[in-house]
Amino acid sequence: MRIDDVAGPASLQEAMAYLKRRPDAVPWAGGTLIAADAAELGRNGAVAALDLHRIPELRHLFPSDRYLEVGACVSLNQLAALPDRRVAAPLKAAAAAVGSCAIRNMATLGGNLAAKARPMSTLPALSCVDAVLELRSPAGGRWLSVHGLVGPDGRVALPQATLVTRIRVGLQSWDSVEFRLCGGGPYPHPDAAAFCACARASTGTLGELRVAYAARALVRSREAETELVGRRLPLPRRDIDAFGAALARRARELGQGEAAVAECTRLARAYLNKLSEV
């Protein structure tokens, strides 16, 4: 990897000014993915690096009663260390599962989300909690659901010269949360994957259900989730089978290999079976 220019802005304004000049610049948060996997750069030749770690508002947490806004350069360790009441459980589980403590001290939520080569492990968690993202570019800023950033191929498609600056996550509690790193090997193995699922139930009835899996693409079927909301627990086998089939269809539509299809289906079914204990 060769870097022919480096900018270290001290504010978002400076960062935008640089991006206007160098729209091809590579935003560099923790940089752990780029350093470990050259495929993350997605190109040969020299690149310009936009070092974001000096921008104060990207490194802060902005809590409120109902949600938490996370600066894109907040480290995964910082997130994982938050008390349970201050961070959504799926996100906390995903942050804590990445790499080792030393890696999590550098790795950031924004960097993990915006990974180019393929979805990384926080994406299923952010999908499950319907995270909302602030995007900033030289043309301006906007808020967008995380699903709006995921393209039809199931991968995050951040436009050029655009930064994720904040990630907003609701603080609703969940009765059941599961997160697993899975796939063909640990990150950065090309077949690494992550699974996240959460649910709420009340008086034996399923109130909310989210199930997401990301290997080479984010796999989730909201239609299948909605189908099961309102059902009595434990879920009957035919409903679990139908959910699994819907997820498998979705995974195949996204071009996932049969190993990924089998794994996400198996995990989803196991999770729904387990919901009988909620």
Binding site: V6, A35, G99, S100, M106
Partner: protein, 162 residues
């Protein structure tokens, strides 16, 4: 480019390529000769340093990212009061570490000792698990980490309420 940084308390100006790994910069400039560069992917943790007070895998840090930062390597750690505590904890646990991982483990354990007011056993285990080496009895390193960990305020409080 020229990287201005503080290494083990000394101001340094080092010429480096922007993408050059901090681990390589530290070794070739002889600022941290104890540092081991092994997997190159942050997996083994043998290149651990403290960057602005936090343990990181220096093979994942590009030189440009270290501008203006403070780096503490094993060489700097050895002159701290935690160094003796770490050595005593390792000896008491019977840990015999190889020259490839001892600097990294010592730094990780030193970080735990220095921050024991807020680092409990679970977090101490997570920190020291940043390093992977096959040279020695892993339970001895874990024992040393637990001995150096504290009992963070919230755990003390919850104990008091039982």
């Amino acid at each position: 480019m020229t990287i201005d940084l503080i290494v083990n308390g000394e101001d340094m100006k080092i010429r480096a390529e922007p993408a050059e790994r901090l681990a390589e910069v530290l070794r070739r400039s002889r600022a941290a000769p104890s540092l081991t560069i092994d997997c190159g992917g942050g997996f083994c943790g043998k290149c651990l340093v403290l960057l602005d007070g936090k343990p990181v895998a220096s093979c994942l840090v590009p030189a440009f990212r270290a501008r203006g930062s403070e780096v503490v390597s094993y060489e700097g750690f050895m002159s701290t009061q935690e160094a003796a505590q770490v050595e005593a904890a390792l000896t008491a646990a019977g840990a015999r570490l190889c020259p490839f991982c001892k600097p990294a483990y010592s730094l990780a354990l030193g970080f735990i000792a220095e921050n024991r007011a807020r680092i409990g056993e679970d977090e101490a285990l997570a920190i020291v698990s940043s390093v992977r080496c096959t040279c020695s009895d892993p339970s001895a390193v874990v024992e040393a980490a637990r001995a150096l960990a504290g009992e963070p305020g919230d755990q003390r409080a919850s104990r008091a309420h039982r």
